[in-house]
Symmetry: C2
Subunit: 330 residues, 2 copies
Amino acid sequence: MNETPRVTFDLDAPGLSMGHLVVPEGSDCEALSLPVFSLNKGEGPRLLITGGCHGNELEGPIVARRVIEWLPEAQTCGRIIVVPELNPLAVQASTRNTPVDGVNLNRVYPGRAGGSVTERIADAISRLLLPMADTVFDLHSFGPTWDFPPAIITHPIADADLMAKTLKMAEACKMPVTLLWEYDVPGMFDTWVHSQGKLFICAEFGGGTVGAEALCIYESGVRNALIALGLVEGKAEHPTYRQKKSSQTLESLLSDELKSPACGIFEPRRSMLDEVNQGDLLGVLHPMDSLSAGSIDIRAPTTSIVCAIRSGGYVESGEEIVYLARPLNL
Amino acid sequence: MNETPRVTFDLDAPGLSMGHLVVPEGSDCEALSLPVFSLNKGEGPRLLITGGCHGNELEGPIVARRVIEWLPEAQTCGRIIVVPELNPLAVQASTRNTPVDGVNLNRVYPGRAGGSVTERIADAISRLLLPMADTVFDLHSFGPTWDFPPAIITHPIADADLMAKTLKMAEACKMPVTLLWEYDVPGMFDTWVHSQGKLFICAEFGGGTVGAEALCIYESGVRNALIALGLVEGKAEHPTYRQKKSSQTLESLLSDELKSPACGIFEPRRSMLDEVNQGDLLGVLHPMDSLSAGSIDIRAPTTSIVCAIRSGGYVESGEEIVYLARPLNL
């Protein structure tokens, strides 16, 4: 037991090479072999692309695998390492957290060598792959139960220079929304990468169904970012989303998070990116056992933009149902 | 134990009345109280509207509750009984099957009084509510992991007269798709209702996110059906879907069902309602542990229309990933 993680191939080999990142076995689970793709064209920016942190957010793994198809030809310099599925156990179970230990991989960075399997995955990434990169693209999404636009998000960063660089890189993806999101929990990959002075971009690739059209938008976003970093030549393109080619940069504060006042069926009455005035109806909560009079209106506390709204479905009391936002003024 | 199901209020009271259908307790679960709404305007068609058979298909319960808001005023004659959530246990767990006994409610009709809780629900519906209706609208959807249009479906019915009446009623909903779907498993609500010579319409209200715009389309479909039945006055309206006001009637055979050849991540390359030629790429299956060469192309076996396609996600070997269809020629 307590072996150290390892990579099964030479990451320094020129061109495209591939193999596995081996996460050692522990008392809870046998060793995992995560597929790793390395694209080495010498000097230049050093990038790590990761997907599949949460097993019910499959846009990332799919887009990561699509990028690998054309990147060997398109890349002009630098180093790119791609790990399409950080957490194969969660992907196979279609769950956010790792089923073996019930832990959220994005809450345990930098991980722990002797910890549970989720901590061991974080440790392997932090120890073996992160040192080889100056920039990280971590490909997430809002998951199947949310109505949410294709977006790049970043959390507030204390280092003003890194904050500015991060926002600039986020906007270079030209996704419909760039979001500065006040959301601070311990152990996030973002925070660990930022603490080392590295650039970290989190793609939150929409919610709901992972469809063919959406995947094309997401792939464009990653390509635009690769161009902005100087790893690929070409002209960035604004993907068309809902018949529009446009982007907006929004800010969402902790106070913009609306939670369900009771358990029951949430009925959305507005869609993502709708502009709403104070008092506007956003949705209705139907307590399950109620007859006609029991519904609870959910209204906008301030004039704002609907950034994310829960899909119609059963929610627990206190569960997040809406995130509001407004244009970012720096 | 072994009590009989009962309704807590007088279903024959004029106008709007409400109460519960009580499903008796059993050894697996205490008694359930399902909210029931009765709208009685005397002589005329007798309709039963049900939602929430599967707990991860929430369009039905939401649309049922929306209809109750305006129906007391709009209804001109006849009897309508609405049960928004047939299976509250599954709704609360957001699962297709009832979590207590693991049973699919739409596989156990007409139910069994001394059976497990799912069988007792079916028994209560079959015994107390179905005899009061000549037509049933059962509000389902394809669920969160599918890309599927708003549709009314019916399965082939041996009785030619009932088949014709059913298709006519289905098309009167004016949903983007009316689907005659060859799909035959024992114990479906459809089959039980048909066996009694009654009309049964199954709404399969799309897949993916349950959003505000989609819910408006679905509500229109139910309103159109109520007009066609003669329960509500007014003019049926074609809801706008993807910038178009149109409907098509399709047929999907058993041979149109494509299954995944392996377990892995399914990547959709086409969208629902796309027209495809024989050999066209529909999607790609990425076995999880594969490096670059492992992907499997999923191609169209015939020239057809993509009726439903799985959302990008992890699938097991043999799991359905695409349903094809073609215009119905009767």
